[in-house]
């Protein structure tokens, strides 16, 4: 049995008085795609944001329990949040490139961290754009504004931007919900390629998408982790009635 890369145990989270996550214990395995599905408001995005501590930004958030990344407790008082966020990249629902050049978008994380020479940064930008399958489309216009790219390109730029930090984990929060089917397909394929080098967690509203690309799936409902299993298993013989109902479209 391999030790999971990320492990939450008895994770509880409150926004003010609102108890959003209940006793969530979930192992995330390295170099796999783990999908998190469930109806709106079930807490799947909130759970995702626990892994890079983005929930810290919301006032009145209280967290109990443990989240470990490679064995290290990321909520330990001495943890440097910025280093966690550099190790755990995130891509958001709506493409959110900076109103800067394509190059400067990808170089952003590296420039912040400092310590890399210019040629090294250039190298890393190229590497990241290639890894996100965007290089060929933008290599002649790295200096032009990222805002001029199409939605799908912008989202792959955001993936490249996250990859530039060479993260261990990539969090994708409904990354294709604002994209057309073609761009969606491209990003799904990209996930399958990327999992060779990073661990991928994807929150999705699209059950079929989870089925297509994930190795494990977590089904969440009302802040609880109802079921977590291998995707092929969960999609054929769900253990829980609620999972079955959701997967077959009875609710959601």
């Amino acid at each position: 049995m391999v030790t999971p890369q990320i492990q939450t145990s008895q994770l509880n989270l409150w926004f003010g008085k609102n108890h959003v996550l209940h006793d969530v214990s979930i192992p995330i395995h390295a170099h796999q795609v783990t999908a998190m599905i469930g109806p709106s408001g079930c807490g799947k995005s909130t759970l995702l944001r626990c892994f890079n501590r983005m929930n810290d930004l919301i006032p009145d958030t209280r967290i109990e329990g443990q989240v470990t990344l490679g064995g290290m407790d990321i909520y330990a008082p001495k943890t440097d949040v910025t280093s966690i966020r550099a190790r755990v990249g995130m891509v958001f629902q709506k493409p959110n490139p900076f109103p800067k050049s394509i190059f400067n978008n990808v170089a952003f994380g590296l420039q912040i961290k400092g310590g890399l020479t210019k040629p090294k940064i250039q190298e890393r930008v190229e590497e990241s754009l290639k890894a996100a399958w965007l290089w060929d489309e933008v290599k002649d216009r790295l200096k032009s504004s990222a805002m001029a790219l199409s939605g799908g390109q912008q989202q792959r730029l955001c993936i490249a931007r996250a990859l530039a930090n060479r993260p261990d984990v990539l969090l994708l929060d409904e990354p294709t919900s604002a994209l057309d089917p073609q761009s969606t397909a491209k990003i799904e394929e990209l996930c399958l390629e990327l999992k060779k080098s990073v661990t991928i967690l994807i929150v999705t509203h699209n059950v079929a998408q989870a089925g297509r690309i994930s190795d494990h799936t977590a089904f969440m409902y009302l802040g609880e982790l109802v079921e977590f299993d291998r995707t092929d298993k969960m999609f054929t013989v769900p253990a829980d009635k609620r999972t079955e109902a959701y997967l077959t479209g009875v609710f959601g």
């Binding site: 983005m54 910025t82 966020r85 958001f92 709506k94 900076f98 800067k100 952003f108 994380g109 805002m147």
Partner: protein, 289 residues
Amino acid sequence: MNSFKERLFKAAAYTASLFTIAVLLSIIAGLFGEGLPLFKSFSPGKFLFTNDWYPTHAEPSFGALTLIIGSLAVTLGALVIAIPLGLGSAIFISELAGSRMKEAAKPVIELLAGIPSVVYGLFGMAFLAPLIRQWFKLDTGLNIFTTSIILGVMIVPIICSMSEDALSSVPKSIREASLALGATRVESIFRAVIPAAKSGIIGSILLGFGRAVGETMVVLMLAGGAAKMPTSIFSSARPLTSTIAAEMGETVMGDLHYQSLFALAILLFLLTFVTNLVTELVFLRRGNQ
């Protein structure tokens, strides 16, 4: 009936806007009509690039360079004061203050914009100028330095309020993107949020510049008023605006001195017009993004 009322209202609004434009155009026409004749007897090159402003001499000279430099000196001085203060408070209000603090701070700063400039001038004369005179052991506290401080404080609300709007309108997703890449809050502000709000911030500074260049009462009261080329920040200065205000009463309608003041007004008009035009372009560019 309804459509008649609507048409009537439309016609009234149309007339009002036409009237406004007509008034503006006639002011501009008057300005140029009274000012340009000066250049029949005094060359525009000498007007712009020589120092001697002796409008009432037997052989009058209308070299406005001293006045132009005077205007630019107090205005740039004001910006040196106002940019850090205005931008700093905008960053604080938009990015760092809690919601309660935010609700309180912005109206208070905007309230500063409502204080009549003569009150600023009075304050500067009565309290600041004597202090400056003592601190720097000067003969008089009425100089470019004092003027810049008061003028700077006067345009802080403009820069702060507009920059704050620009910063606040940067979408949350930009901040999240930056933080999620491992930036600290401060790094996010300086590397992601401020660059994203750049055009609005530049616009606010240009607007502040335009306001300061055109301000009359404060410079009339505080700048000292000597039409001599300033040599340091503690020199006295005579900006364009205060020259017009101070000398208009002495002129005879239609004489050279009278024309020369209108020529100064043309200069001021062009300066502010160009500033506003650039500001507008900066904003238009932002609108297109």
